[in-house]
């Protein structure tokens, strides 16, 4: 049961990579595989939320010898979000007509990689699945096959390989310092390690995930890639792949390296704040939708960092909530980029309201959680910063919305009604999650409670 959500896409992707994904039948097969995977994930998630974490060790060896695999609330939240976004992007492309032979296979491979990563409780196993997801992402970013996409893919691969290398260095350091790769052992192992070594490992982990998230100042790869890649791929990168960064910071920061997180929380808050302001200011002057959304993403991930830096039950829950909402927003907005029509305008408006935090779009829950975290620690500066970031996002989102949908620059794009289905469904989901906030609030609270950092 624990391995089923991992095995379904992994096994399904292997035949898919041999088939021609441009054929409708093949594409729908991939959609079916992803849907089955999502269903298995949902069943597992229900069990986790009802009965607590589910654990297994490969080969039934003692933990540490075999690889520990454990599904907990945090992993399930991010797995559901990522796979949901992958499914949405795949259906979107399938309906519109897939142009790349192996596009469906890579999407399904990425689902396997991400699921493995969210289940992994072993540092090296995490890295391996991280690579599965990343290599699928590199392959996906060439989708479209033009020079523009190839250029984006090159930048993406070079910078992110560097990030992966930094993470690998951290894994090596962890193993050397603690003698184990199992996450549970790492926390206790590092407690007795030299504080300097432990902190440097934490710095590497932080940088690696900042690169994945595209946090300022590690961001310069991100706009090029989000603009150069196809909208569906940009949606995957922003809504699914970037979760590695948010999840990684939460898992490694608040669960594996909680002492180091406490020591470096100021750095997280400073980096996050810089990213919020930088991304928002850059986004204001951009006129192309993909550009605005790319810089908006840089700004929005800053909130996740700030929330993790604030920490505690409220801060970590805010980080989870914000990451989930931001993933959904960006998936919705990117998937609507190459469409037009008034319904698309409505869906885009829902996404825009969600980004700025206007109810009933789900984004306002993220804002509530952020303000709650800021007020809880009594920081006027942070509350002001979150306020400022929100104000700037109002400006860039609605300048973009008006120029695209009112001033009518959005004349090109797909107009067939069926291509709008996914964007509309996501818009309804975003509205629904905002109007009935209990699931998101409860799930993010549980996810944060799974972390070591929330324990006193």
């Amino acid at each position: 049961m624990l391995f089923l959500p991992l095995l379904i896409p992994w096994l399904a992707a292997i035949p898919l990579v041999l088939l021609d994904g441009r054929r409708k039948g093949v594409a729908w097969l991939a959609v079916g595989a992803l849907a089955a995977h999502l269903a298995a994930l949902a069943v597992l998630a229900v069990r986790v939320f009802a009965a607590g974490p589910q654990e297994a060790v490969t080969g039934e060896w003692p933990p540490g010898v075999g690889i520990v695999v454990r599904a907990d609330a945090l992993g399930m939240v991010f797995a559901l979000l990522s796979s949901g976004v992958l499914l949405a992007a795949l259906v979107h492309e399938t309906v519109a007509g897939i142009e790349g032979r192996r596009f469906p296979a890579f999407v399904v491979f990425m689902a396997a990689g991400l699921t493995g990563l969210f289940l992994a409780r072993d540092v090296f196993n995490f890295y391996v699945f991280f690579e599965v997801a990343m290599i699928s992402a590199y392959a996906l970013s060439t989708y479209g096959g033009q020079a523009r996409e190839a250029g984006a893919a090159f930048v993406f691969a070079v910078v992110n390989l560097l990030g992966s290398f930094l993470f690998l260095l951290a894994v090596a350091g962890i193993y050397h310092q603690t003698g184990t790769l199992a996450m549970d052992g790492v926390t206790t192992g590092l407690a007795t390690a030299a504080p300097n070594a432990a902190l440097l490992i934490a710095v590497l982990v932080l940088v690696a995930f900042s690169v994945k998230l595209g946090l300022f100042p590690f961001h310069p790869w991100l706009p090029a890639v989000y603009i150069g890649a196809r909208p569906a791929v940009a949606a995957i990168l922003a809504g699914a792949l970037a979760n590695i960064g948010s999840y990684g910071v939460l898992r490694f920061g608040a669960d594996v390296l909680p002492a180091q997180l406490r020591a470096g929380s100021v750095a997280l808050v400073v980096l996050g704040s810089a990213s919020i302001v930088y991304g928002a200011v850059q986004a204001i002057g951009r006129r192309e939708a993909a550009e605005v959304l790319a810089y908006s993403t840089i700004g929005q991930v800053g909130y996740v960092f700030v929330a993790v830096g604030i920490g505690g039950a409220v801060g970590l829950a805010a980080a989870v909530l914000y990451a989930v909402v931001n993933g959904l927003n960006k998936a919705l907005l990117f998937l609507s980029i190459d469409l037009r029509g008034w319904l698309v305008g409505a869906a885009f408006a829902v996404g825009a309201f969600s980004v700025v935090g206007v109810p009933p779009a789900a984004g306002f829950l993220g804002k509530v959680a952020m303000f709650q975290a800021g007020v809880e620690i009594g920081s006027v500066a942070l509350v002001a910063l979150i306020f400022l970031g929100g104000a700037l996002s109002f400006l860039y989102m609605f300048q973009l919305y008006q120029s695209d949908f009112w001033a009518g620059t959005r004349e090109v794009g797909r107009s067939a009604p069926r291509t709008r289905v996914v964007a509309l469904a996501l818009a309804v989901l975003v509205l629904g999650l905002g109007a009935w906030p209990e699931p998101l609030l409860a799930v993010s609270r549980d996810a944060a409670a799974a972390l070591e950092g929330t324990r006193p």
């Binding site: 990579v17 080969g59 060896w61 010898v65 032979r101 192996r102 296979a105 890579f106 491979f109 391996v128 599965v132 290599i135 392959a139 060439t142 523009r148 930048v155 070079v158 560097l162 050397h176 310092q177 603690t178 003698g179 184990t180 052992g185 030299a194 902190l199 440097l200 490992i201 590497l204 690169v211 100042p217 590690f218 310069p220 706009p223 090029a224 020591a263 470096g264 750095a267 850059q282 986004a283 204001i284 002057g285 951009r286 006129r287 109810p359 009933p360 804002k367 509530v368 303000f371 709650q372 007020v375 306020f387 929100g390 109002f394 300048q399 008006q402 120029s403 009112w406 001033a407 209990e438």
Partner: protein, 786 residues
């Protein structure tokens, strides 16, 4: 290879219109098509609103009632609505005036659309957002939970945004909509922050519970001030008032509904609802009084100078809500009751006046300048009379409902001494003058431009005006129902204390009567000598518009766009610097980490013996090769130098007990060298030569070594700090792996690890290879097929 982010020459802030002359004319031309049957959408909307009005009235008369459902237990949120007096007042206004405006919209909107050459089906979104607004307003009026209140608060802003932007072809409506959204949307966040502060302090968003627990203090003052800011911005108070005149680009029914009677009233509603909290801080009350008075005078003075009908009314709205805010700021029973009473009185009069302006414009070929109208009482006598009643109510003349609103104002002000009373009395003087001018210029005198429109407006345009105007008169004559409702609303705002205010006409020389008489006299004088005062008012208006907050808004939008463009010009766009932007900050963070932790004994160099010589030599070789790699221009030499570095490291492994790693390293180095050579042989010669002869820019000449040094430093620090120190072996899992290898049927521990203990990793790595192969194959086949 590099995708260049498109740079925008356009640095102007889009959707900014600072020139008020660019405001589009409102209303429709006379070339409107034939009147068809009454639009069903309008009929449906009006019926729904009327039914809702009746239902709310019935429920209120039956003693109110409440709905309380769980919403989000995690935060203790409840869908808690209660039809108390405050809720009933605003819900009745929203639905009642809504019904009148929907009736009015039926014909008006058709004519409006026809004059813009738009199809009638465009009206659907209009009614959808108007209904959304009406529902949100009822929700807002009855919500008892601060977060629920915030949801409806923003829903009204959303409806307002789309309705202001209803005329999509007009650039002025883009900027007006954006301005209204930014001002009311961003200040709404202040309401959210205030609510969250109260939540953190009291553990609940439930307003009744917070009111029961709140005690004066800094926390409460801050929260109350934030909530008040949101309310003031929504009610178009100085310095946020400028969005309202710009929102007049919306079709007139929208102005008559949202931007006079309902959405703007939401700010005062919020103040009335949270008044038990606000009133605990004298600072907040004084702030509201100052803002109210400032808005009253600013709005009144500018309204005197405006030429366009709706602009006069918009600034009048700013001024009138200034009265209400000032009333709440004055405090006490008179303030709380007066604020509520004022809302109702103003809503009836102002909606009617907006609809008058729409009807007049409609009947005059779209003309909306006071200077070009005149003598309209001949062609539209009913509108003229109804307009006169509404104007009288606004000006607070006796026998209209307006008389009592001013009486309450004076009563509350008298408690604060003569200065406040004098300032407060200045408002009604201005009101009398500008509304007198407004009405007189439209209806009296000779027609300054012959009416070319269809003459008398259709009955469905006139009827709603007449009804609202008659209500203004009726409540002036029979004050009891409104008096008791406003009294009950006041007691909600006073946290349950009875307000004890009674209203009636007293024909004696009491202070309020004397002030009223003085106001009429001064107002009449001002109206009569209007021409002499005009330059003063115009000067004030010019200064206010030139240096006022609207200017600040426009220039801050411009500056934000300019700053963004400037920042974008220095944004990194080439691969080399993108890599540097990962390495350098990483180096800075590592340095910060080194400074933050004790490093004593961590970076000590041990003794170097003779036995270490081979190691030292090999490492020096590797380092020398790495340094040498910066020199050659030829690609082939570069690859060979890099391999030299790699082979030296492989030799290190071979010498220090890891022959298998050394083998792998040699294999990899060889493969890569061959691969590079193969690629170079495939590339055209001139490409290679061109790359070799590229000159290195000046900035790169110092930047590249710097980046290299920084990244070398942090890599050294990290590797030295984390990987070189000996770690006690007792807790290593490696020993257990060696012990367990036989149980995994592995001949050696590496095999056991790869194929059993960590087989999942191996499988995943194989998958990585499969994906990489598929990706490369895809890239190659695409290339071939091109």
């Amino acid at each position: 290879m590099e995708p260049q982010t498109r740079t925008e020459p356009d640095e102007r802030a889009p959707f900014v219109v600072s020139d008020s002359a660019a405001r589009r004319r409102d209303g429709a031309g006379a070339e409107a098509g034939p009147l068809g049957p009454f639009p069903p959408a309008a009929a449906l909307a009006a019926t729904l609103a009327a039914l809702a009005f009746a239902a709310i009235l019935y429920a209120w008369l039956r003693g109110g009632g409440s709905i309380d459902l769980p919403w989000a237990p995690t935060l203790g949120l409840r869908l808690h609505f209660r039809l108390d007096a405050l809720g009933a007042l605003y819900a009745l206004l929203a639905t009642g005036i809504g019904a009148a405006v929907f009736l009015y919209s039926g014909r008006y909107l058709r004519l409006h659309l026809a004059s813009d050459g738009r199809p009638a089906r465009d009206e659907r979104s209009f009614y959808a957002f108007m209904l959304l607004f009406a529902v949100s307003m009822v929700g807002l009026a009855t919500a008892q939970d601060l977060l629920l209140l915030f949801v409806f608060w923003d829903l009204t802003a959303i409806a307002s945004y789309f309705l202001i932007g209803f005329d999509r072809h007009e650039t002025a409506s883009w900027s007006g909509a954006l301005m209204a959204l930014l001002v009311t949307g961003i200040t709404a966040v202040a309401l959210l922050v205030g609510s969250v502060i109260l939540f953190v302090a009291h553990g609940t968003f439930s307003l009744p519970e917070i009111i029961a627990h709140a005690r004066p203090g800094t926390t409460l003052t801050v929260a109350a001030a934030l909530i008040a800011v949101a309310g003031l911005a929504k009610s178009a108070q100085v310095p946020f008032h400028f969005w309202l005149p710009n929102a007049m680009v919306a079709p007139t029914p929208v102005s008559a509904y949202l931007h006079s009677a309902a959405m703007v009233a939401a700010g005062v509603l919020l103040i009335g609802r949270t008044y038990p909290l606000l009133a605990q801080s004298q600072l907040v009350l004084d702030g509201m009084l100052v803002v109210g008075l400032a808005s009253m005078l600013t709005g009144g003075l500018i309204a005197l100078t405006r030429e366009r009908l709706k602009q006069v009314l918009a600034y009048s709205t700013v001024a009138q809500y200034g009265y209400m805010v000032a009333l709440y700021g004055l405090g006490g029973a008179a303030g709380a009751v007066g604020g509520a009473f004022f809302v109702a009185a103003h809503a009836l009069a102002k909606s009617a006046l907006f609809m008058v302006s729409g009807a007049v414009t409609q009947a005059s070929d779209g003309e909306e300048r006071l200077g070009r109208l005149g003598g309209r009482w001949r062609t539209m006598p009913i509108v003229a009379v109804a307009g006169a009643l509404a104007a009288a109510a606004l000006a607070g003349l006796p026998l209209t409902v307006g008389f009592f609103k001013d009486e309450l104002l004076f009563k509350a002000a008298l408690k604060r001494g003569p200065l406040v009373t004098a300032l407060v009395a200045a408002g009604p003087v201005l009101t009398l003058a500008y509304i007198g001018r407004f009405w007189g210029r439209i209806f009296l005198g000779r027609p300054r431009q012959a009416p070319t429109g269809p003459g008398s407006p259709p009955a469905t345009l006139v009827a709603p005006i007449a009804v609202l105007a008659l209500l203004s008169l009726a409540f002036g004559l029979w004050i009891a129902p409104l008096e008791s409702l406003a009294g009950a609303v006041g007691s909600v705002s006073l946290a349950g204390k009875p307000a004890g205010i009674s209203l009636a006409y007293y024909l004696d020389a009491r202070a309020t009567n004397l002030i009223a008489l003085g106001v009429y006299a001064l107002g009449g004088l001002l109206l009569a000598t209007y021409r002499h005062w005009l330059p003063v008012a115009q000067g004030f208006a010019r200064v206010a518009l030139r240096f006022g907050p609207e200017r600040a808004y426009v220039s801050s939008l411009r500056q934000a766009n300019r700053l963004s463009s400037a920042l974008h010009r220095v944004e990194v766009r080439d691969l080399r610097r993108r890599v540097a932007w990962v390495l350098v900050p990483c180096g800075v963070l590592v340095a910060a980490g080194l400074l933050a932790t004790p490093t004593v004994g961590q970076y000590a160099i041990g003794k170097l013996g003779v036995g270490d010589a081979p190691l030292a030599i090999l490492l020096a070789l590797a380092a020398a090769a790495a340094l040498a790699a910066t020199v050659p221009r030829s690609q082939l030499v570069l690859v060979l130098v890099l391999s030299a570095s790699g082979y030296s490291l492989a030799a290190v492994f071979a010498l220090f007990g890891a022959p298998d790693v050394a083998l792998v390293a040699v294999l990899v180095e060889t493969l890569f060298a061959l691969l590079f050579v193969a690629v170079f042989s495939l590339l055209p010669d001139d490409v290679l030569r061109r790359e070799q002869s590229l000159s290195v820019s000046h900035s790169r000449r110092w930047r590249d070594p710097l980046v290299g040094v920084v990244s070398g430093f942090f890599a050294l620090a990290v590797v030295w700090g984390t990987l070189s120190s000996p770690v006690p072996s007792d807790r290593r899992v490696a020993e257990r792996l060696i012990d367990l290898a036989p149980a995994a049927h592995g001949k050696d521990v590496v095999t056991a690890i790869l194929s059993d203990f960590r087989a999942l990793d191996t499988l995943a790595e194989v998958t990585v290879l499969v994906i990489a192969l598929a990706g490369v194959a895809g890239a190659l086949t695409r290339r071939r097929s091109r």
